[in-house]
Symmetry: C2
Subunit: 324 residues, 2 copies
Protein backbone atom coordinates (compact mmCIF):
# COMPACT_ATOMS: atom_id res chain seq x y z
CA UNK A 1 0.00 0.00 0.00
CA UNK A 2 1.21 3.46 -0.86
CA UNK A 3 0.71 6.63 1.15
CA UNK A 4 -0.84 9.79 -0.26
CA UNK A 5 2.61 11.31 -0.53
CA UNK A 6 4.03 8.32 -2.39
CA UNK A 7 1.13 8.33 -4.85
CA UNK A 8 1.54 12.06 -5.41
CA UNK A 9 5.19 11.42 -6.13
CA UNK A 10 4.31 8.93 -8.88
CA UNK A 11 2.20 11.60 -10.54
CA UNK A 12 4.82 14.30 -10.09
CA UNK A 13 7.40 12.07 -11.67
CA UNK A 14 5.19 11.19 -14.64
CA UNK A 15 4.18 14.82 -15.11
CA UNK A 16 7.85 15.73 -15.34
CA UNK A 17 8.17 13.34 -18.28
CA UNK A 18 5.22 14.88 -20.17
CA UNK A 19 6.31 15.07 -23.80
CA UNK A 20 5.99 18.81 -24.12
CA UNK A 21 9.55 19.77 -25.09
CA UNK A 22 8.40 19.48 -28.70
CA UNK A 23 7.93 21.58 -31.80
CA UNK A 24 6.09 23.78 -32.57
CA UNK A 25 6.91 25.60 -29.35
CA UNK A 26 3.90 27.91 -29.73
CA UNK A 27 1.71 24.86 -29.17
CA UNK A 28 3.56 23.06 -26.40
CA UNK A 29 4.82 25.94 -24.26
CA UNK A 30 1.31 26.74 -22.98
CA UNK A 31 0.79 23.08 -22.09
CA UNK A 32 4.01 23.07 -20.11
CA UNK A 33 2.91 26.30 -18.41
CA UNK A 34 -0.51 24.90 -17.46
CA UNK A 35 1.10 21.82 -16.02
CA UNK A 36 3.74 23.67 -14.04
CA UNK A 37 1.15 25.81 -12.29
CA UNK A 38 0.10 22.62 -10.58
CA UNK A 39 -3.09 22.21 -8.64
CA UNK A 40 -4.03 19.61 -6.09
CA UNK A 41 -3.63 16.62 -8.44
CA UNK A 42 -6.70 15.25 -6.66
CA UNK A 43 -7.97 13.32 -9.68
CA UNK A 44 -4.88 11.25 -10.50
CA UNK A 45 -4.25 10.59 -6.82
CA UNK A 46 -7.78 9.26 -6.40
CA UNK A 47 -7.28 7.07 -9.45
CA UNK A 48 -4.09 5.55 -8.04
CA UNK A 49 -5.74 5.04 -4.65
CA UNK A 50 -8.59 3.14 -6.28
CA UNK A 51 -6.09 0.96 -8.13
CA UNK A 52 -4.08 0.42 -4.97
CA UNK A 53 -7.17 -0.85 -3.11
CA UNK A 54 -7.00 -3.97 -5.25
CA UNK A 55 -3.43 -4.16 -6.44
CA UNK A 56 0.08 -3.24 -5.32
CA UNK A 57 1.17 -2.61 -8.92
CA UNK A 58 -0.02 0.96 -9.18
CA UNK A 59 2.57 1.73 -11.88
CA UNK A 60 0.22 0.48 -14.59
CA UNK A 61 -2.35 3.09 -13.54
CA UNK A 62 0.06 6.05 -13.51
CA UNK A 63 -0.19 7.05 -17.18
CA UNK A 64 -4.00 6.82 -17.27
CA UNK A 65 -4.15 8.80 -14.00
CA UNK A 66 -1.93 11.47 -15.54
CA UNK A 67 -4.15 11.45 -18.62
CA UNK A 68 -7.18 12.16 -16.44
CA UNK A 69 -5.35 15.14 -14.94
CA UNK A 70 -4.38 16.35 -18.42
CA UNK A 71 -8.03 16.09 -19.44
CA UNK A 72 -9.07 18.09 -16.38
CA UNK A 73 -6.56 20.79 -17.27
CA UNK A 74 -7.75 20.80 -20.89
CA UNK A 75 -11.30 21.54 -19.72
CA UNK A 76 -10.06 24.34 -17.45
CA UNK A 77 -8.08 25.86 -20.33
CA UNK A 78 -11.08 25.95 -22.68
CA UNK A 79 -13.50 26.95 -19.89
CA UNK A 80 -11.27 29.92 -19.12
CA UNK A 81 -11.61 31.13 -22.72
CA UNK A 82 -15.38 30.68 -22.60
CA UNK A 83 -15.67 32.42 -19.21
CA UNK A 84 -13.23 35.18 -20.18
CA UNK A 85 -11.24 34.39 -17.03
CA UNK A 86 -7.92 36.21 -16.60
CA UNK A 87 -6.50 34.24 -13.70
CA UNK A 88 -6.23 30.56 -12.84
CA UNK A 89 -4.32 29.44 -9.75
CA UNK A 90 -3.11 33.03 -9.40
CA UNK A 91 -1.43 33.01 -12.80
CA UNK A 92 -2.50 34.52 -16.12
CA UNK A 93 -4.71 32.16 -18.13
CA UNK A 94 -3.31 30.87 -21.43
CA UNK A 95 -5.56 33.00 -23.64
CA UNK A 96 -4.42 36.09 -21.72
CA UNK A 97 -0.73 35.22 -21.59
CA UNK A 98 -0.63 34.10 -25.25
CA UNK A 99 -3.77 34.51 -27.32
CA UNK A 100 -7.07 32.86 -27.94
CA UNK A 101 -6.05 30.79 -30.95
CA UNK A 102 -3.12 29.35 -29.06
CA UNK A 103 -5.44 28.54 -26.15
CA UNK A 104 -7.93 26.74 -28.38
CA UNK A 105 -5.30 24.68 -30.17
CA UNK A 106 -3.16 23.90 -27.11
CA UNK A 107 -6.35 22.74 -25.43
CA UNK A 108 -7.14 20.49 -28.37
CA UNK A 109 -3.70 18.93 -28.14
CA UNK A 110 -4.16 18.40 -24.41
CA UNK A 111 -7.42 16.55 -25.08
CA UNK A 112 -5.54 14.28 -27.49
CA UNK A 113 -2.69 13.80 -25.02
CA UNK A 114 -5.26 12.86 -22.40
CA UNK A 115 -6.50 10.08 -24.66
CA UNK A 116 -2.92 9.02 -25.40
CA UNK A 117 -2.12 8.58 -21.72
CA UNK A 118 -5.47 7.14 -20.62
CA UNK A 119 -5.30 4.47 -23.32
CA UNK A 120 -1.77 3.61 -22.21
CA UNK A 121 -3.10 0.80 -20.00
CA UNK A 122 -3.15 -3.02 -20.07
CA UNK A 123 -4.90 -4.29 -23.23
CA UNK A 124 -7.35 -6.48 -21.32
CA UNK A 125 -8.95 -3.48 -19.59
CA UNK A 126 -8.52 -1.04 -22.49
CA UNK A 127 -12.07 -1.38 -23.91
CA UNK A 128 -13.61 -0.78 -20.45
CA UNK A 129 -11.33 2.14 -19.67
CA UNK A 130 -12.08 3.86 -22.99
CA UNK A 131 -15.79 3.32 -22.59
CA UNK A 132 -15.87 4.85 -19.11
CA UNK A 133 -13.73 7.76 -20.22
CA UNK A 134 -15.66 8.55 -23.42
CA UNK A 135 -18.97 8.79 -21.57
CA UNK A 136 -17.34 10.92 -18.89
CA UNK A 137 -15.60 13.32 -21.26
CA UNK A 138 -18.82 14.00 -23.12
CA UNK A 139 -20.68 14.54 -19.87
CA UNK A 140 -18.14 17.12 -18.68
CA UNK A 141 -18.70 19.15 -21.87
CA UNK A 142 -22.48 18.88 -21.43
CA UNK A 143 -22.06 20.14 -17.86
CA UNK A 144 -20.08 23.14 -19.07
CA UNK A 145 -22.85 23.93 -21.58
CA UNK A 146 -25.50 23.77 -18.83
CA UNK A 147 -23.31 26.02 -16.70
CA UNK A 148 -23.15 28.57 -19.54
CA UNK A 149 -26.91 28.24 -20.14
CA UNK A 150 -27.62 28.94 -16.46
CA UNK A 151 -25.91 32.33 -16.74
CA UNK A 152 -28.71 33.50 -19.04
CA UNK A 153 -31.49 31.45 -17.46
CA UNK A 154 -33.60 33.03 -14.70
CA UNK A 155 -35.31 30.05 -13.11
CA UNK A 156 -32.56 27.57 -12.27
CA UNK A 157 -33.76 25.12 -9.62
CA UNK A 158 -31.56 23.51 -6.99
CA UNK A 159 -32.17 20.24 -8.80
CA UNK A 160 -30.95 21.72 -12.13
CA UNK A 161 -27.87 23.02 -10.38
CA UNK A 162 -27.02 19.70 -8.76
CA UNK A 163 -27.44 17.92 -12.10
CA UNK A 164 -25.11 20.46 -13.73
CA UNK A 165 -22.31 20.07 -11.17
CA UNK A 166 -22.75 16.30 -11.33
CA UNK A 167 -21.97 16.45 -15.06
CA UNK A 168 -19.34 19.15 -14.93
CA UNK A 169 -17.38 18.02 -11.86
CA UNK A 170 -18.53 14.80 -10.22
CA UNK A 171 -18.47 12.35 -13.11
CA UNK A 172 -14.77 12.99 -13.71
CA UNK A 173 -13.87 12.23 -10.10
CA UNK A 174 -16.11 9.16 -10.37
CA UNK A 175 -14.39 8.04 -13.57
CA UNK A 176 -10.94 8.53 -12.00
CA UNK A 177 -11.86 6.14 -9.21
CA UNK A 178 -13.57 3.63 -11.48
CA UNK A 179 -10.75 3.58 -14.03
CA UNK A 180 -8.15 3.12 -11.30
CA UNK A 181 -10.22 0.29 -9.84
CA UNK A 182 -10.67 -1.41 -13.24
CA UNK A 183 -6.92 -1.25 -13.91
CA UNK A 184 -6.32 -2.63 -10.41
CA UNK A 185 -8.49 -5.63 -11.28
CA UNK A 186 -11.61 -4.75 -9.26
CA UNK A 187 -14.80 -6.73 -9.79
CA UNK A 188 -17.55 -4.85 -11.62
CA UNK A 189 -19.62 -4.22 -8.44
CA UNK A 190 -16.57 -2.90 -6.59
CA UNK A 191 -15.63 -0.64 -9.52
CA UNK A 192 -19.20 0.69 -9.52
CA UNK A 193 -19.09 1.40 -5.79
CA UNK A 194 -16.00 3.47 -6.40
CA UNK A 195 -17.69 5.29 -9.26
CA UNK A 196 -20.55 6.19 -6.93
CA UNK A 197 -18.09 7.20 -4.22
CA UNK A 198 -16.51 9.60 -6.72
CA UNK A 199 -19.88 11.05 -7.65
CA UNK A 200 -20.67 11.87 -4.02
CA UNK A 201 -17.19 13.21 -3.40
CA UNK A 202 -17.50 15.44 -6.47
CA UNK A 203 -20.86 16.83 -5.36
CA UNK A 204 -19.52 17.53 -1.87
CA UNK A 205 -16.37 19.09 -3.31
CA UNK A 206 -18.21 21.51 -5.60
CA UNK A 207 -20.71 22.51 -2.91
CA UNK A 208 -17.77 23.16 -0.58
CA UNK A 209 -16.30 25.42 -3.27
CA UNK A 210 -19.52 27.42 -3.26
CA UNK A 211 -19.48 27.60 0.54
CA UNK A 212 -15.84 28.60 0.81
CA UNK A 213 -16.41 31.45 -1.63
CA UNK A 214 -19.06 32.93 0.68
CA UNK A 215 -18.10 31.72 4.14
CA UNK A 216 -14.45 30.71 3.90
CA UNK A 217 -11.54 32.05 5.89
CA UNK A 218 -9.85 34.57 3.54
CA UNK A 219 -6.40 33.75 4.90
CA UNK A 220 -6.79 30.06 4.09
CA UNK A 221 -9.03 30.30 1.01
CA UNK A 222 -6.41 32.22 -0.97
CA UNK A 223 -9.04 34.24 -2.82
CA UNK A 224 -11.20 37.16 -1.82
CA UNK A 225 -14.46 36.12 -0.18
CA UNK A 226 -17.68 36.93 -2.03
CA UNK A 227 -16.51 36.64 -5.65
CA UNK A 228 -19.54 34.53 -6.57
CA UNK A 229 -21.90 37.04 -4.93
CA UNK A 230 -20.32 39.98 -6.74
CA UNK A 231 -20.65 38.26 -10.11
CA UNK A 232 -24.23 37.09 -9.40
CA UNK A 233 -23.16 33.52 -9.94
CA UNK A 234 -26.02 31.09 -9.52
CA UNK A 235 -24.50 28.91 -6.85
CA UNK A 236 -26.45 26.41 -4.77
CA UNK A 237 -26.43 28.97 -1.95
CA UNK A 238 -28.13 31.66 -4.02
CA UNK A 239 -30.59 29.27 -5.67
CA UNK A 240 -31.57 27.80 -2.31
CA UNK A 241 -31.86 31.23 -0.71
CA UNK A 242 -34.19 32.42 -3.49
CA UNK A 243 -36.19 29.23 -3.04
CA UNK A 244 -36.81 29.46 0.70
CA UNK A 245 -36.85 33.25 1.17
CA UNK A 246 -40.09 34.99 2.10
CA UNK A 247 -41.49 37.60 -0.25
CA UNK A 248 -39.59 40.49 1.34
CA UNK A 249 -36.24 38.71 1.47
CA UNK A 250 -36.68 37.48 -2.07
CA UNK A 251 -37.37 41.00 -3.29
CA UNK A 252 -34.31 42.29 -1.49
CA UNK A 253 -32.13 39.54 -3.00
CA UNK A 254 -33.42 40.15 -6.52
CA UNK A 255 -32.79 43.87 -6.04
CA UNK A 256 -29.24 43.21 -4.94
CA UNK A 257 -28.70 40.98 -7.98
CA UNK A 258 -30.19 43.32 -10.56
CA UNK A 259 -29.11 46.70 -9.22
CA UNK A 260 -26.02 48.03 -10.89
CA UNK A 261 -24.82 48.84 -7.41
CA UNK A 262 -21.25 50.06 -7.23
CA UNK A 263 -20.91 49.27 -3.56
CA UNK A 264 -19.73 45.69 -4.04
CA UNK A 265 -18.63 45.23 -0.45
CA UNK A 266 -22.02 46.40 0.74
CA UNK A 267 -23.72 43.98 -1.63
CA UNK A 268 -21.68 41.03 -0.36
CA UNK A 269 -22.47 41.92 3.24
CA UNK A 270 -26.18 42.27 2.54
CA UNK A 271 -26.44 38.99 0.65
CA UNK A 272 -24.46 37.22 3.39
CA UNK A 273 -26.79 38.65 6.00
CA UNK A 274 -29.78 37.19 4.13
CA UNK A 275 -27.95 33.86 3.81
CA UNK A 276 -27.38 33.95 7.58
CA UNK A 277 -30.99 34.79 8.34
CA UNK A 278 -32.11 31.85 6.18
CA UNK A 279 -29.55 29.44 7.62
CA UNK A 280 -28.15 28.75 4.12
CA UNK A 281 -24.72 27.78 5.42
CA UNK A 282 -26.21 25.13 7.68
CA UNK A 283 -28.37 23.76 4.86
CA UNK A 284 -25.35 23.52 2.60
CA UNK A 285 -23.31 21.86 5.35
CA UNK A 286 -26.07 19.32 5.82
CA UNK A 287 -26.14 18.54 2.11
CA UNK A 288 -22.35 18.24 1.97
CA UNK A 289 -22.45 15.95 4.98
CA UNK A 290 -25.06 13.74 3.31
CA UNK A 291 -22.76 13.30 0.29
CA UNK A 292 -19.84 12.38 2.54
CA UNK A 293 -22.05 9.85 4.30
CA UNK A 294 -22.95 8.29 0.96
CA UNK A 295 -19.29 8.18 0.00
CA UNK A 296 -18.45 6.46 3.29
CA UNK A 297 -21.11 3.83 2.65
CA UNK A 298 -19.74 3.18 -0.83
CA UNK A 299 -16.26 2.64 0.58
CA UNK A 300 -17.69 0.29 3.22
CA UNK A 301 -19.31 -1.75 0.46
CA UNK A 302 -16.04 -2.33 -1.39
CA UNK A 303 -14.99 -5.89 -0.71
CA UNK A 304 -11.35 -5.53 0.28
CA UNK A 305 -9.89 -5.73 3.81
CA UNK A 306 -10.43 -2.56 5.83
CA UNK A 307 -6.74 -1.83 6.25
CA UNK A 308 -6.43 -1.33 2.48
CA UNK A 309 -9.08 1.38 2.65
CA UNK A 310 -7.34 3.65 5.13
CA UNK A 311 -5.48 5.85 2.61
CA UNK A 312 -8.61 6.64 0.62
CA UNK A 313 -10.60 7.00 3.84
CA UNK A 314 -8.10 9.51 5.19
CA UNK A 315 -8.15 11.54 2.00
CA UNK A 316 -11.95 11.61 2.08
CA UNK A 317 -11.87 12.76 5.71
CA UNK A 318 -9.38 15.49 4.96
CA UNK A 319 -11.56 16.73 2.07
CA UNK A 320 -14.51 16.81 4.46
CA UNK A 321 -12.77 19.40 6.59
CA UNK A 322 -11.01 21.35 3.87
CA UNK A 323 -10.75 25.12 4.22
CA UNK A 324 -9.19 25.81 0.82
CA UNK B 1 -16.21 -5.88 -53.05
CA UNK B 2 -18.24 -2.71 -52.67
CA UNK B 3 -18.45 0.15 -55.13
CA UNK B 4 -17.70 3.75 -54.23
CA UNK B 5 -21.42 4.45 -54.11
CA UNK B 6 -22.13 1.51 -51.83
CA UNK B 7 -19.37 2.55 -49.44
CA UNK B 8 -20.64 6.12 -49.44
CA UNK B 9 -24.06 4.75 -48.56
CA UNK B 10 -22.65 2.96 -45.49
CA UNK B 11 -21.27 6.27 -44.27
CA UNK B 12 -24.43 8.20 -45.06
CA UNK B 13 -26.44 5.66 -43.13
CA UNK B 14 -24.13 5.77 -40.11
CA UNK B 15 -24.02 9.58 -40.20
CA UNK B 16 -27.81 9.62 -40.03
CA UNK B 17 -27.63 7.65 -36.79
CA UNK B 18 -25.16 10.08 -35.17
CA UNK B 19 -26.33 10.54 -31.60
CA UNK B 20 -26.89 14.26 -31.84
CA UNK B 21 -30.59 14.51 -30.95
CA UNK B 22 -29.47 15.01 -27.36
CA UNK B 23 -29.57 17.60 -24.61
CA UNK B 24 -28.30 20.26 -24.18
CA UNK B 25 -29.48 21.35 -27.63
CA UNK B 26 -27.10 24.34 -27.64
CA UNK B 27 -24.26 21.85 -27.77
CA UNK B 28 -25.58 19.27 -30.22
CA UNK B 29 -27.43 21.44 -32.75
CA UNK B 30 -24.18 22.84 -34.19
CA UNK B 31 -22.81 19.31 -34.54
CA UNK B 32 -25.90 18.25 -36.44
CA UNK B 33 -25.56 21.37 -38.61
CA UNK B 34 -21.90 20.69 -39.41
CA UNK B 35 -22.70 17.15 -40.36
CA UNK B 36 -25.68 18.02 -42.53
CA UNK B 37 -23.64 20.43 -44.62
CA UNK B 38 -21.86 17.37 -45.87
CA UNK B 39 -18.63 17.45 -47.79
CA UNK B 40 -17.04 14.78 -49.95
CA UNK B 41 -16.76 12.15 -47.19
CA UNK B 42 -13.41 11.32 -48.79
CA UNK B 43 -11.79 10.22 -45.55
CA UNK B 44 -14.32 7.62 -44.39
CA UNK B 45 -14.72 6.29 -47.93
CA UNK B 46 -10.95 5.79 -48.20
CA UNK B 47 -10.98 4.02 -44.86
CA UNK B 48 -13.69 1.60 -45.97
CA UNK B 49 -11.91 0.98 -49.28
CA UNK B 50 -8.73 0.08 -47.44
CA UNK B 51 -10.67 -2.34 -45.25
CA UNK B 52 -12.44 -3.80 -48.27
CA UNK B 53 -9.11 -4.55 -49.97
CA UNK B 54 -8.57 -7.28 -47.40
CA UNK B 55 -12.02 -8.13 -46.12
CA UNK B 56 -15.62 -8.24 -47.30
CA UNK B 57 -16.90 -7.37 -43.82
CA UNK B 58 -16.58 -3.62 -44.10
CA UNK B 59 -19.32 -3.09 -41.50
CA UNK B 60 -16.78 -3.36 -38.70
CA UNK B 61 -14.90 -0.38 -40.14
CA UNK B 62 -17.93 1.88 -40.57
CA UNK B 63 -17.99 3.44 -37.09
CA UNK B 64 -14.23 4.13 -37.04
CA UNK B 65 -14.51 5.59 -40.56
CA UNK B 66 -17.31 7.85 -39.39
CA UNK B 67 -15.21 8.81 -36.38
CA UNK B 68 -12.39 9.90 -38.69
CA UNK B 69 -14.85 12.10 -40.59
CA UNK B 70 -16.14 13.55 -37.29
CA UNK B 71 -12.55 14.30 -36.30
CA UNK B 72 -11.94 16.03 -39.65
CA UNK B 73 -15.04 18.15 -39.12
CA UNK B 74 -13.95 18.97 -35.56
CA UNK B 75 -10.65 20.35 -36.88
CA UNK B 76 -12.49 22.42 -39.51
CA UNK B 77 -14.81 23.83 -36.85
CA UNK B 78 -11.97 24.96 -34.58
CA UNK B 79 -9.80 26.10 -37.54
CA UNK B 80 -12.67 28.32 -38.69
CA UNK B 81 -12.68 30.08 -35.31
CA UNK B 82 -8.91 30.53 -35.44
CA UNK B 83 -8.98 31.77 -39.04
CA UNK B 84 -12.02 33.99 -38.44
CA UNK B 85 -13.72 32.30 -41.41
CA UNK B 86 -17.36 33.22 -42.04
CA UNK B 87 -18.23 30.54 -44.59
CA UNK B 88 -17.60 26.82 -44.90
CA UNK B 89 -19.14 24.85 -47.76
CA UNK B 90 -21.16 27.95 -48.62
CA UNK B 91 -22.83 28.04 -45.21
CA UNK B 92 -22.22 30.21 -42.18
CA UNK B 93 -19.55 28.77 -39.88
CA UNK B 94 -20.66 27.67 -36.40
CA UNK B 95 -18.99 30.57 -34.56
CA UNK B 96 -20.81 32.99 -36.89
CA UNK B 97 -24.20 31.26 -36.83
CA UNK B 98 -24.08 30.70 -33.05
CA UNK B 99 -21.17 32.14 -31.11
CA UNK B 100 -17.59 31.41 -30.32
CA UNK B 101 -18.14 29.63 -27.02
CA UNK B 102 -20.62 27.28 -28.64
CA UNK B 103 -18.13 26.63 -31.43
CA UNK B 104 -15.31 25.81 -29.00
CA UNK B 105 -17.42 23.47 -26.89
CA UNK B 106 -19.25 21.77 -29.77
CA UNK B 107 -15.86 21.16 -31.31
CA UNK B 108 -14.61 19.62 -28.08
CA UNK B 109 -17.58 17.26 -28.03
CA UNK B 110 -16.93 16.32 -31.66
CA UNK B 111 -13.35 15.41 -30.78
CA UNK B 112 -14.68 13.15 -28.04
CA UNK B 113 -17.30 11.65 -30.36
CA UNK B 114 -14.54 10.98 -32.87
CA UNK B 115 -12.71 8.93 -30.24
CA UNK B 116 -15.94 7.16 -29.29
CA UNK B 117 -16.56 6.03 -32.85
CA UNK B 118 -12.95 5.29 -33.79
CA UNK B 119 -12.52 3.06 -30.73
CA UNK B 120 -15.74 1.23 -31.63
CA UNK B 121 -13.76 -1.48 -33.45
CA UNK B 122 -12.80 -5.11 -32.82
CA UNK B 123 -10.87 -5.48 -29.53
CA UNK B 124 -7.93 -7.28 -31.15
CA UNK B 125 -7.05 -4.27 -33.33
CA UNK B 126 -8.08 -1.60 -30.81
CA UNK B 127 -4.58 -0.88 -29.41
CA UNK B 128 -3.17 -0.45 -32.95
CA UNK B 129 -6.07 1.71 -34.10
CA UNK B 130 -5.79 4.01 -31.09
CA UNK B 131 -2.05 4.33 -31.46
CA UNK B 132 -2.28 5.31 -35.13
CA UNK B 133 -5.05 7.77 -34.41
CA UNK B 134 -3.42 9.43 -31.40
CA UNK B 135 -0.24 10.18 -33.33
CA UNK B 136 -2.27 11.45 -36.26
CA UNK B 137 -4.57 13.69 -34.24
CA UNK B 138 -1.63 15.37 -32.55
CA UNK B 139 0.11 15.87 -35.88
CA UNK B 140 -2.96 17.57 -37.38
CA UNK B 141 -2.93 20.12 -34.54
CA UNK B 142 0.80 20.68 -35.00
CA UNK B 143 0.16 21.28 -38.72
CA UNK B 144 -2.49 23.89 -37.91
CA UNK B 145 -0.02 25.65 -35.60
CA UNK B 146 2.63 25.74 -38.34
CA UNK B 147 0.01 27.06 -40.74
CA UNK B 148 -0.79 29.89 -38.30
CA UNK B 149 2.92 30.54 -37.73
CA UNK B 150 3.51 30.86 -41.49
CA UNK B 151 1.05 33.75 -41.68
CA UNK B 152 3.45 35.86 -39.63
CA UNK B 153 6.67 34.33 -40.96
CA UNK B 154 8.38 35.92 -43.96
CA UNK B 155 10.78 33.23 -45.12
CA UNK B 156 8.71 30.08 -45.53
CA UNK B 157 10.50 27.61 -47.81
CA UNK B 158 8.77 25.16 -50.14
CA UNK B 159 10.11 22.44 -47.87
CA UNK B 160 8.52 24.06 -44.78
CA UNK B 161 5.25 24.33 -46.64
CA UNK B 162 5.24 20.69 -47.73
CA UNK B 163 6.00 19.59 -44.18
CA UNK B 164 3.12 21.70 -42.90
CA UNK B 165 0.54 20.28 -45.32
CA UNK B 166 1.83 16.80 -44.61
CA UNK B 167 0.98 17.30 -40.94
CA UNK B 168 -2.20 19.27 -41.42
CA UNK B 169 -3.78 17.26 -44.23
CA UNK B 170 -1.89 14.21 -45.41
CA UNK B 171 -1.40 12.25 -42.20
CA UNK B 172 -5.17 12.08 -41.63
CA UNK B 173 -5.79 10.60 -45.09
CA UNK B 174 -2.91 8.23 -44.41
CA UNK B 175 -4.37 7.20 -41.05
CA UNK B 176 -7.80 6.64 -42.62
CA UNK B 177 -6.32 4.15 -45.04
CA UNK B 178 -4.09 2.48 -42.45
CA UNK B 179 -6.86 2.13 -39.87
CA UNK B 180 -9.23 0.69 -42.47
CA UNK B 181 -6.53 -1.77 -43.53
CA UNK B 182 -5.76 -2.80 -39.94
CA UNK B 183 -9.44 -3.43 -39.23
CA UNK B 184 -9.64 -5.41 -42.48
CA UNK B 185 -6.83 -7.66 -41.22
CA UNK B 186 -3.97 -6.36 -43.39
CA UNK B 187 -0.41 -7.42 -42.64
CA UNK B 188 1.78 -4.71 -41.15
CA UNK B 189 3.70 -4.07 -44.43
CA UNK B 190 0.45 -3.81 -46.39
CA UNK B 191 -1.04 -1.42 -43.82
CA UNK B 192 2.11 0.69 -44.07
CA UNK B 193 1.92 0.80 -47.86
CA UNK B 194 -1.60 2.15 -47.48
CA UNK B 195 -0.44 4.72 -44.96
CA UNK B 196 2.18 5.92 -47.45
CA UNK B 197 -0.40 5.92 -50.24
CA UNK B 198 -2.56 8.21 -48.09
CA UNK B 199 0.37 10.53 -47.44
CA UNK B 200 1.01 10.98 -51.18
CA UNK B 201 -2.69 11.36 -51.91
CA UNK B 202 -2.96 14.03 -49.22
CA UNK B 203 -0.01 15.99 -50.57
CA UNK B 204 -1.40 15.84 -54.10
CA UNK B 205 -4.86 16.81 -52.85
CA UNK B 206 -3.68 19.90 -50.98
CA UNK B 207 -1.45 21.06 -53.83
CA UNK B 208 -4.42 20.65 -56.17
CA UNK B 209 -6.44 22.86 -53.81
CA UNK B 210 -3.78 25.54 -54.17
CA UNK B 211 -3.79 25.15 -57.95
CA UNK B 212 -7.58 25.21 -58.31
CA UNK B 213 -7.72 28.43 -56.32
CA UNK B 214 -5.47 30.15 -58.87
CA UNK B 215 -6.05 28.24 -62.11
CA UNK B 216 -9.39 26.46 -61.65
CA UNK B 217 -12.48 26.75 -63.78
CA UNK B 218 -14.73 29.12 -61.79
CA UNK B 219 -17.89 27.34 -62.95
CA UNK B 220 -16.65 23.99 -61.63
CA UNK B 221 -14.58 25.21 -58.65
CA UNK B 222 -17.63 26.76 -56.98
CA UNK B 223 -15.58 29.58 -55.48
CA UNK B 224 -14.15 32.76 -56.92
CA UNK B 225 -10.71 32.28 -58.44
CA UNK B 226 -7.80 34.09 -56.78
CA UNK B 227 -8.92 34.07 -53.14
CA UNK B 228 -5.50 32.88 -51.96
CA UNK B 229 -3.77 35.60 -53.99
CA UNK B 230 -6.02 38.33 -52.60
CA UNK B 231 -5.36 37.25 -49.03
CA UNK B 232 -1.57 36.88 -49.62
CA UNK B 233 -1.79 33.25 -48.54
CA UNK B 234 1.57 31.53 -48.63
CA UNK B 235 0.65 28.67 -50.94
CA UNK B 236 3.16 26.44 -52.66
CA UNK B 237 2.59 28.48 -55.84
CA UNK B 238 3.59 31.76 -54.21
CA UNK B 239 6.50 30.30 -52.29
CA UNK B 240 7.85 28.61 -55.40
CA UNK B 241 7.36 31.75 -57.50
CA UNK B 242 9.30 33.85 -54.98
CA UNK B 243 12.01 31.20 -54.97
CA UNK B 244 12.61 31.01 -58.74
CA UNK B 245 11.75 34.58 -59.76
CA UNK B 246 14.52 36.87 -61.00
CA UNK B 247 15.22 40.06 -59.09
CA UNK B 248 12.71 42.14 -61.06
CA UNK B 249 9.90 39.63 -60.85
CA UNK B 250 10.55 39.08 -57.20
CA UNK B 251 10.39 42.79 -56.52
CA UNK B 252 7.12 43.05 -58.44
CA UNK B 253 5.63 40.12 -56.50
CA UNK B 254 6.67 41.54 -53.14
CA UNK B 255 5.20 44.90 -54.14
CA UNK B 256 1.91 43.26 -55.06
CA UNK B 257 1.87 41.45 -51.71
CA UNK B 258 2.73 44.43 -49.54
CA UNK B 259 0.89 47.23 -51.35
CA UNK B 260 -2.44 48.04 -49.84
CA UNK B 261 -3.77 48.01 -53.37
CA UNK B 262 -7.52 48.33 -53.65
CA UNK B 263 -7.62 46.93 -57.16
CA UNK B 264 -7.91 43.28 -56.13
CA UNK B 265 -8.81 42.04 -59.59
CA UNK B 266 -5.77 43.78 -61.01
CA UNK B 267 -3.59 42.22 -58.34
CA UNK B 268 -4.86 38.72 -59.11
CA UNK B 269 -4.22 39.21 -62.84
CA UNK B 270 -0.71 40.54 -62.25
CA UNK B 271 0.27 37.74 -59.91
CA UNK B 272 -1.17 35.15 -62.30
CA UNK B 273 0.79 36.68 -65.14
CA UNK B 274 4.02 36.26 -63.13
CA UNK B 275 3.01 32.69 -62.28
CA UNK B 276 2.50 32.06 -66.01
CA UNK B 277 5.82 33.60 -66.97
CA UNK B 278 7.59 31.38 -64.42
CA UNK B 279 5.67 28.23 -65.42
CA UNK B 280 4.42 27.77 -61.85
CA UNK B 281 1.34 25.85 -62.92
CA UNK B 282 3.43 23.30 -64.79
CA UNK B 283 5.82 22.92 -61.85
CA UNK B 284 2.89 22.31 -59.52
CA UNK B 285 1.34 19.81 -61.94
CA UNK B 286 4.64 17.97 -62.11
CA UNK B 287 4.83 17.80 -58.33
CA UNK B 288 1.22 16.62 -58.06
CA UNK B 289 1.91 13.99 -60.71
CA UNK B 290 4.94 12.74 -58.79
CA UNK B 291 2.77 12.23 -55.70
CA UNK B 292 0.18 10.32 -57.71
CA UNK B 293 2.95 8.15 -59.13
CA UNK B 294 4.14 7.36 -55.62
CA UNK B 295 0.59 6.52 -54.59
CA UNK B 296 0.23 4.17 -57.57
CA UNK B 297 3.44 2.37 -56.60
CA UNK B 298 2.18 1.95 -53.03
CA UNK B 299 -1.04 0.40 -54.28
CA UNK B 300 0.94 -1.92 -56.58
CA UNK B 301 2.96 -3.09 -53.58
CA UNK B 302 -0.11 -4.14 -51.61
CA UNK B 303 -0.27 -7.90 -51.74
CA UNK B 304 -3.88 -8.56 -52.71
CA UNK B 305 -5.19 -9.61 -56.14
CA UNK B 306 -5.38 -6.73 -58.63
CA UNK B 307 -9.13 -6.97 -59.06
CA UNK B 308 -9.60 -6.01 -55.40
CA UNK B 309 -7.67 -2.80 -56.01
CA UNK B 310 -9.85 -1.39 -58.77
CA UNK B 311 -12.23 0.65 -56.58
CA UNK B 312 -9.41 2.43 -54.77
CA UNK B 313 -7.49 2.78 -58.04
CA UNK B 314 -10.51 4.41 -59.70
CA UNK B 315 -10.98 6.84 -56.83
CA UNK B 316 -7.30 7.79 -57.01
CA UNK B 317 -7.58 8.34 -60.76
CA UNK B 318 -10.66 10.51 -60.36
CA UNK B 319 -8.89 12.62 -57.74
CA UNK B 320 -5.99 13.05 -60.17
CA UNK B 321 -8.28 14.80 -62.63
CA UNK B 322 -10.48 16.66 -60.19
CA UNK B 323 -11.62 20.16 -61.08
CA UNK B 324 -13.37 20.93 -57.81
Amino acid sequence: MYSLEELRHFIKQAARDLEVAREPRELYQPIQYVFQTGGKRLRPVLSLMACNLFNDQVEQAVMPALGLEVFHNFTLLHDDIMDGASLRRNQATVHKKWDQNIAILSGDVMAIMAYEYITNCPADVLPDVIKIFNITARSVCEGQQYDMNFEKQIDVSAEDYLRMIKKKTSVLLAACLQIGAVIGGASRPDAEQLYDLGLSLGMAFQLQDDMLDSFGNPALFGKEIGGDIKSNKKTWLLIKALEIANQGERKELVNLLTNKNRDEKGKVDKVLSIYNKLGIKELAEKLVQSYFNKARKNLNNVRVPNERKSVLQNLTNSLMNREK
